[in-house]
Symmetry: C2
Subunit: 259 residues, 2 copies
């Protein structure tokens, strides 16, 4: 089992869209996937869990405060091979509660220990909120690898340096010594602008083969899908959006095999 944090403290770069659709694309290829929604906004949960189910379903909050292990919080979804641990509003308050605990960085890592023992999933994807706070440091301490969605714009590049620093610190303090940034994914790519191809060149020059070959194109279909509570595969199965995440899933699995 591998735990992958889908994270970038810059907001609106496609973390949730990537977590949701990469998870669904892997599930389509018969890979057993668990999606954990660490964002108090619960964008990923809102697509996979109905409002009625959500009110009953346990959330990752219980694991963070040590009430339950993660394996007690898993709900199935309508998509075969894809399960979820949803988020809920209480997560917003968790920052203050967890900050006051001695081992405030290790809560999630401890909660996932029984998941690792049971080995019921091939991959666990963590959808992270856009922040540098406690939820992010918990995700980075619990994860094996990091996949960073990056919009091809200037502010996104600026944030990368920061993310590298935070990752180095998590490794250096011994909280998670083997953590690595295993992939950078360029999202919302619009080849008609001058800016996006220019930023792509800069990112590929600088980070070389860490950058996924797969580019996720900007298409309004991605923005429409969540308003119908659907993944891109359910909303526009034959479009360029669905094709790009299927391609990403194949490239992701290829990389995992050759590690």
């Amino acid at each position: 089992m591998k735990i992958i944090a889908i994270t970038n403290q810059k907001g609106g770069v496609g973390k949730t869209t990537t977590s949701l659709n990469l998870a669904a694309a892997l599930a389509e290829k018969k890979v057993r996937v668990l999606l954990v929604d660490l964002d108090p906004q619960g964008s990923a949960s809102s697509v996979l869990v109905s409002k009625e189910e959500g009110a009953e379903a346990p959330s990752i909050y219980a694991a963070l405060i040590g009430e339950k292990p993660a394996s007690d919080l898993i709900s199935p979804t309508r998509i075969k091979n894809l399960s979820i641990i949803p988020s809920d509003l209480d997560l917003a308050g968790a920052e203050v509660e967890v900050a006051r605990m001695d081992d405030h960085m290790m809560r999630l890592r401890a909660a996932f220990e029984d998941l690792r023992e049971k080995n019921a999933f091939d991959y666990v994807l963590l959808d992270c909120p856009p922040s540098l706070g406690i939820l992010m440091s918990n995700a980075l301490t619990a994860a094996d690898e990091i996949l960073v969605p990056i919009q091809c714009e200037y502010y996104a590049l600026e944030g990368l340096g920061l993310l590298m620093e935070v990752t180095d610190r998590i490794r250096a303090t011994g909280a998670n010594p083997t953590l690595s940034i295993s992939g950078l994914l360029l999202t919302m790519f619009d080849a008609r602008t001058n800016l996006n191809p220019a930023v792509e060149r800069e990112v590929r020059n600088h980070f070389q083969e860490v950058v996924y070959k797969t580019l996720i194109p900007r298409t309004v279909r991605f923005a429409e899908a969540p308003s119908h509570g659907r993944t891109i595969f359910e909303h526009d199965p034959n479009g360029i959006g669905a094709a790009s995440y299927r391609k990403l899933a194949a490239e992701f699995l290829q990389r995992q095999k050759s590690q």
Copy 2:
């Protein structure tokens, strides 16, 4: 003096772009403006403060931990009538430090008291990070009003309910009894899609005159400007982007007068 929090916990909706360009547009109209960068990513600071100045300039962190009052942290910028209190990386760690203080919500409000007494500015704009954590609750407790940038997409709508709840709670607990959401601003508007006009209709129907008449159009000029360290007025002074923020500044001042 009025303190306006530019906030939306949803990421990438145009908070920094609005804080920066509304501040610059107001300064152009000879309004005295202070921009406070509460985002550890420091996107707004990176445009207004050079890397060399940034290393020396004091940041809002000192005010949050009670080391200095806000009025000691102000730096001028190259733009007349516009001053800044920049952010820095220490802000990321502030969440844990401030969470452990008894009055963890009131730190910023207390730090701004001397600013209110000196009354050196007409407006103070707070650029908020995309989060529901301590920095956000400090901004909402310190502010008189909230301006919410909203992308015309589904996830943005979902977050609005949440923001309303958080604001109600800040009012109800007495932390800031007169706080109000004074404006909703539709950003990144692309009339060629079906989605954006549909979301605009929904938002205007629901929130009526709270929604600014001014729409901010999606144009790549906004994404280019920060890579040159410029405001939209410096990067593309005669384009539709600059025109939209000038129009917003006029509508903003009109609303303030008629309150």
